[in-house]
Symmetry: C2
């Protein structure tokens, strides 16, 4: 991917959030929404987000599905020394790898803890065989990459620090966007949306109604890799609307 | 389920969020986190949350997986008259049903629009054959139930209004919780967690470190359907810790 401009298919991603604490509503997941914004800004098309419990079989299945549906997969959570940190075990199983000790991690841990590593601390050096580790200054955990999967810790500050260190690796062609805000309800615009959808198959068109006292009733968005197609789809749609239908555009 | 107290297996749920706008970071999904809190309060154990694009094959696959993994499935979004509203079509396909017009919906729409229904408005009356509709006062959309799947609109106010009307149907035995906040790091407590995990297999135990200037370094949570087991697991863990390890409990 780093050689030459990435294609749209190489610019897809999936996110797997691992955490009973999210499913049990103890915390609201911040990593998924944050990474969605980052990936969008990078031009990466996210195909799915799954939140699964701290259970190896479910993580394995979810990671395998994510790998089948996107070029890049990011996991959040389940990294650490306790019984509920099972992401490394799940990734090893998903890719049929043994779990091995990473020599550099072990040496860093031994330095930090003056050689007194209990089994819990030793677990912090375990990786699936063949995984790549990237240590960054001040980072508490390395970024671990196994094939197309980037493994990040769940604590938001560490998750964000880890991704930020590697984010430019994923930069793709930009996704161009237009939006129009309408005074018309969805049932008045459906046929015009259909016309734009049919004419520009490479433009993703969304229609978002609201039922509050906003200045518009529907927001319509146009997204695509080819700026001229996005603009043309938007223009085709707008010119079909009755006068006064558009409140504003951006 | 309404006859007698629900068992734990009947008290599981999965959530499918349908929406390109979430995956493209145009909006942060509010419905998933809101419903997670509601279901938790009701004693329902959520097994997975998936966010998928407005694409029929992906929704079908996600709903079928959700149905296989939980007693109750909730979908958010993709309801309406425009091209990107494909949830009804996907549900019909997932359950191998025809799409039919709901007579009452059609009659309500004809009254509201003085008999002038264009194809887009007619789509609002379409349901998978055999689905149950529940209209509630002031609701703009009915709650649609097909087998174990509850279909809710994506606009947060409508999503919440729909679920709120039916929420008591899902009330299950409460999930009891305890939490302890520790001055110790995770590597110091891992073996004690293991002991509690081994002794109380019906208690879900989570360990959540933080690396900021909070009053504690790790929060440990204990959750289960049997209050005495939750308390005993927590007590077993706490009594194994060195003096001064616990900052506070709740």
């Amino acid at each position: 991917m780093r050689a030459g401009a990435p294609t749209a298919e190489q610019s897809t991603a999936a996110i797997v959030v691992i955490g009973n604490e999210v499913l049990s509503a103890k915390v609201v997941d911040a990593n998924g929404p944050w990474l969605l914004r980052e990936l969008r800004e990078l031009g990466v098309d996210v195909r799915r987000v799954e939140t699964v419990p701290d259970e190896v079989p479910l993580i394995v299945e979810s990671v395998q599905r994510a790998c089948a549906s996107a070029a890049h997969v990011f996991t959040s959570g389940g990294i650490g020394p306790t019984h509920d940190d099972v992401t490394i075990a799940a990734l090893a199983q998903a890719f049929n790898r043994r779990i091995v000790n990473d020599a550099r991690s072990l040496s860093l841990l031994e330095k930090k803890f003056a050689g007194k590593l209990n089994p819990a601390l030793r677990r912090l050096a375990e990786i699936p065989e063949g995984a790549q580790l990237e240590w960054h200054e001040q980072a508490m955990f390395p970024v671990i990459t196994l094939e197309q999967v980037v493994i990040l810790p769940g604590v938001p500050a560490l998750f964000q620090a880890g991704f930020t260190q590697i984010r430019e690796r994923f930069r793709a062609a930009p996704i161009h966007s237009r939006a129009v805000y309408l005074s018309l309800g969805e049932s008045r615009i459906a046929e015009h949306l259909d016309a734009a959808v049919a004419a520009f198959p490479d433009v993703s068109i969304g229609s978002y109604p609201r039922f509050d006292d906003a200045d518009h009733r529907v927001k319509v968005t146009f997204d695509g890799r080819v700026a001229a197609h996005v603009a043309a789809a938007c223009n085709l749609f707008v010119t079909r609307l009755p006068p006064g239908g558009v409140v504003r555009e951006d």
